[in-house]
């Protein structure tokens, strides 16, 4: 392994600019003559907009325009769309309601944009916004997805009776019912997977600029997938033809899914810039982010797992109601269906699975993918069921898992997925050693001596990453292909630019992708630049989410590098005056087999461009190759996390005292970066388990609308984390990569809740397990069983 090649903990190339304050985030960019947008948003969860009077506002100093949904419709700006078609079990298509970028006629959630003020300065726009008079007729609202389906609930969109978008299912209902009938033991759980606010530290932002001469529009935005944004804004919103719209996503300060989607504000910025002939800038403030960035999770599930007399799982069934909010966000329909139910097999051999999912509208912010996206919800269901079952059956939770692990591969689950490789027992064994499970009972006794309840919880998760084979995606209703593209441009001096359709917003692609090139071409990592996030530079790409940049994005680079090597060998054959078949390439050097004749990488690169050694009829000059890589399967990262907690029974406060993570990510390009991804994922999962939760009151007001009210995990919430790996190579991509971005967030919630419930001796505990919730659960359990410990 070279110092900068695959497997090396190379320090990140991007860090120098970030630690010196020289990054270029969207809000750091300013365009000459730019004006500022400020949105007027509905303060009501559900209301008819009866009138908008903007006369006084329009007369305020610096105001350039006040625009509403009426002008948007008059200018024929199209609606935002959800790009994944889900059919209900009766065969009917999902009920997608129109989603205009500015509310038309009525507002469907607090924060729904109703009008926008464009002014010379942000202060002037804010001042004028206060003078815009919007009259609302307030309608009854519903925020709870279970209540939204009930008779008499407020009807949010005409197209969706009972607010139901689809009633989807997967699996063999009859076979599952039969398995349950023959079961020796059934474990049942009601689970609410709490609603989360993604809260990337950089708020969303957009700057739009119109060139009246060429008719070109440019959008700088905080996107995880600028090409997808361009496609949707061109083809569906109809803002501009695709070839006259450039989308640039520069440095992006975290995404976690929330920056995948196409949002109203960027559409409005483009539209306003074209109408006014001025660049228009919009930057979300945090309060605005809470009521506009797509939220995550919000599942209400009843789940059951059936066992035979030997503790082998016979079947699993789950009924889930998923809250999709006031409108269908870009990929919202796929998250509680294909990103969720196919993972309900976990790491276990489960002969039969049946899952029903109802997706519903409510008067809340739209819900879409958030780190893990469906897979954390599935893992929580499976890992809570098996842990509770172990306790009910009086079997050691590790042993019950072991007994049911899938041991041979490939393994076809009853719900689509064909797991290709893994060794689940290896991760469990290593994690149990690292966590010193043998010493747990002593630690529990020690904790009891100082008045604390100590508990240990496991989470053996699986995820489907590296999304995804385009044909499979299409057959399941996806409106896009999920391949990735790469172009490798070798310069005459031998330095290399890689243009990738992946997008880095914290993942460190400028380093890891350069490691791949350095490894393959034998050139210093500093001679490699990674170019991403600009639709004028990179031809097309599907962006970064679902832990796909390594498995899919880097595989595309590998394919392009294969072509580069083949072409460079042809050039080398002319330069070295040898047969092409005799040219060998190793460690950055071309040599003729069996001779001492050789040429350096840089010589061949130069010769490819000066083209003195071959004629144009024999070989094209230049050294530049592109590739599209379409995966043949999902990848299946897996692992075991073990959490140990101490609960103070007097206050209900939970302290996480130890965390062990052993993950199988396949081949690791940069272990330092992978560990960082695991740390961050765990923090978000711990946040979900212990403190985070978006709370709506009965009128649909978001009670947790700022960092003062929504508890983000802070440094003192988290323990030092022990991270290790096991490795089975992913057989479906050339590098053997599985992906690591979401693992922590998927594994962590179940590990925490399994640990706390182990400590307090009751399963009736919902997330977030705040001190108040834990204390209440303890009191309730003690009342029910007053003589128990």
């Amino acid at each position: 392994m070279s110092a900068t090649g695959i497997g090396a903990a190379v320090r990140r190339k991007e860090d120098h600019r970030f630690v010196t304050g020289k990054g270029h985030y969207t809000d750091d960019i300013n365009r000459p003559g730019q004006a500022y947008a400020y949105f007027i948003r509905s303060p009501h969860a559900h209301a008819t907009i009866t009138s908008i009077d903007s006369k006084a506002a329009a007369a305020m100093p610096g105001v350039l325009a006040v625009l509403t949904g009426a002008e948007l419709a008059a200018d024929k700006i199209g609606n935002l769309i959800c790009g994944w078609m889900i059919h209900s079990k009766d065969g009917s298509p999902m009920k997608m309601a129109p989603h205009p970028a500015l509310a038309s006629g009525k507002a469907c959630h607090v924060g729904d944009p109703v009008a926008v003020v464009i002014a010379e300065t942000l202060g002037q726009a804010r001042d004028a916004a206060e003078k815009v008079k919007v009259d609302y007729a307030v309608l009854p609202a519903v925020a709870d997805p279970v209540a939204a389906q009930k008779k008499g609930a407020p009807q949010i969109h005409e197209v969706a009776p009972h607010n139901t978008i689809y009633q989807w299912h997967i699996g063999d209902h009859k076979a599952v019912d039969a398995a349950f009938k023959s079961a020796k033991h059934v474990t049942r759980l009601d689970i609410v997977n709490n609603r989360l606010v993604p809260n990337a530290m950089e708020p969303r932002a957009a700057i739009a600029e119109y060139d009246a001469g060429s008719g070109h529009l440019t959008l700088w935005n905080t996107s995880q997938n600028p090409h997808v944004a361009r496609l949707v804004i061109a083809a569906f919103v109809g803002m501009a033809p695709e070839h006259k719209l450039r989308v640039i996503a520069p440095d992006v300060g975290g995404g976690f899914g929330s920056k995948i989607f196409i949002y109203p504000e960027e559409v409005v910025a483009l539209w306003a810039a074209r109408r006014l002939g001025r660049p228009v800038k919009w930057v979300s403030d945090r309060s605005e982010a809470f009521v506009t960035d797509a939220h995550g999770r919000d599942h209400h599930t009843h789940a059951e797992m059936a066992f035979d007399a030997d503790g082998k799982i016979l079947a699993l069934r789950a009924k889930t109601i998923a809250n999709l909010g006031g409108y269908m966000s870009t990929f919202s329909s796929a998250i509680p269906t294909y990103m969720y139910a196919p993972l309900l097999s976990g790491q276990y051999s489960i002969p039969q699975i049946y899952s029903e999912v109802d997706a519903v509208y409510t008067n809340t912010v739209p819900v879409d993918a958030y780190r893990g996206a469906g897979r954390p919800e599935a893992t929580f269901v499976v890992e809570r069921l098996i842990e509770v079952a172990a306790r009910e059956l009086g079997v050691d939770p590790a042993e019950l898992r072991r007994r049911n692990f899938i041991k041979t591969f490939p393994h076809q689950t009853p719900v689509i997925m064909a797991y290709d490789a893994g060794d689940y027992n290896a991760s469990l064994k290593k994690a149990m050693e690292l966590a010193d499970c043998k010493g747990f009972s002593k630690r529990k006794r020690d904790a009891a001596r100082h008045g604390k309840l100590r508990g240990m919880g496991f989470s053996a998760y699986i995820e489907a990453c590296g999304i995804a084979p385009s044909q499979a995606v299409g057959s399941l209703g996806g409106g896009v292909g999920l391949w990735e593209s790469a172009e490798v441009r070798v310069n005459p001096t031998g330095s290399v630019e890689v243009l990738t359709g992946s997008h880095s917003h914290g993942q460190g692609h400028e380093t890891t992708f350069a490691q791949l090139v350095s490894d393959r071409l034998g050139i210093p990592i500093d001679n490699v630049s990674i170019v991403h996030g600009d639709t004028d530079k990179v031809q097309f790409g599907m962006g970064t989410y679902g832990s796909r940049s390594g498995a899919v994005g880097m595989s595309a680079i590998v394919k392009a590098l294969d072509k580069i090597e083949a072409k460079a060998k042809k050039v080398a054959a002319y330069v070295l005056e040898a047969a092409e078949s005799d040219i060998e390439f190793k460690d950055g050097k071309f040599s003729v087999a069996g001779t001492d004749k050789s040429a350096a990488w840089g010589d061949i690169a130069l010769n490819a461009y000066i083209a003195h050694k071959f004629s144009g009829q024999e070989l094209e000059p230049g050294l530049k190759e592109g590739a599209f890589y379409d995966p043949t399967n999902f990848t299946f990262p897996s692992g075991v996390h073990i959490c140990e907690v101490e609960v103070d029974p007097d206050t209900g406060n939970t302290e996480i005292v130890a965390w062990t993570a052993v993950d199988d990510f396949g081949v690791v390009i940069n272990p330092m970066i992978v560990e960082g991804q695991v740390h961050g994922g765990i923090a978000q999962g711990v946040g979900q388990a212990l403190c985070e939760g978006a709370v709506y009151d009965k009128d649909g007001q978001l009670v947790t609308g700022s960092f003062m009210d929504y508890a983000m995990p802070r440094a003192d919430y988290l323990p030092p984390i022990k991270v290790d790996t096991t490795m089975t190579k992913c057989p479906s991509n050339p590098l053997g990569i599985k992906g690591c971005g979401e693992a922590g967030a998927i594994a962590a919630p179940a590990a925490v809740i399994n640990a706390i419930t182990d400590a307090i001796g009751t399963e009736a505990l919902a997330m977030p397990a705040t001190p108040a919730a834990v204390w209440a659960a303890l009191q309730k359990a003690r009342k029910a069983a007053p003589h128990a410990a």
Binding site: R11, R12, E14, D15, H16, R17, F18, V19, T20, G21, K22, G23, Y25, D27, D28, N30, G123, N199, A200, M201, E202, P203, D251, V252, G253, G254, F256, D285, R286, S287, H505, G506, Q507, G508, M672, I673, E675, G676, H679, G680, G681, I682, A683, Q684, S706, F707, M708, M712, R714, A715, D716, L718, P720, I721, G744
Partner: protein, 165 residues
């Protein structure tokens, strides 16, 4: 509009500002020092931390006009341009204490202030408690804590070697 005169990263500046202008707006919009970030509107996240007269301050909580005559140090002024990184910047880089980089300038400015107040030997608990006012969504704080412990040592080692010269 009103004029305010202060020193930013050692350079004297006089700027005419709208009286409601916050220090962070003065830095970002008037002086184009965009390394100082805004991550919230309730003074919770700490992405905007700078040093005012040697102490860490959330620049979203101070009006620019309050700072007449003050010395402000931002992330851009922590190390000499084109010189080596400040030991704390280097420690964040070396320990992978950042991912998306957005909270990083505030984290580093806070970290330098922690060392000023608490010295070179910082245990895990102290660092975690002292980071109460800084949010990071990417790293899980693990490597930030490691970076600050290492940076604290490096800052003191730097001082010691200067004293020896």
């Amino acid at each position: 509009m009103a004029a305010v005169s202060l020193a930013v990263n050692g350079k004297p500046v006089t700027v005419d500002v709208d009286p409601r202008t916050l220090l962070v707006q003065l830095l970002r919009e008037h002086l184009r020092l965009t390394g100082t970030h805004v991550g919230c509107d309730t003074s919770q996240c700490g992405a905007c931390v700078v040093h005012v007269n040697g102490k860490a301050v959330k620049s979203c909580t101070v009006l620019a006009l309050q700072l007449d005559g003050a010395n402000v140090l931002t992330i851009e002024g922590l190390a000499a341009p084109d010189g080596p990184l400040h030991p704390m910047q280097e420690a964040f880089r070396e320990n992978h204490g950042l991912q998306c980089g957005f909270c990083t300038p505030g984290m580093i400015m806070t970290a330098v202030d922690i060392v000023r107040r608490k010295g070179r030997d910082l245990d895990d608990r102290t660092i975690r408690d002292e980071l109460e006012g800084n949010l990071c969504r990417c790293t899980g704080y693990h490597n930030i804590v490691k970076a600050i412990a290492a940076g604290a040592h490096a800052m003191h080692a730097g001082k010691a070697s200067k004293a020896a010269e």
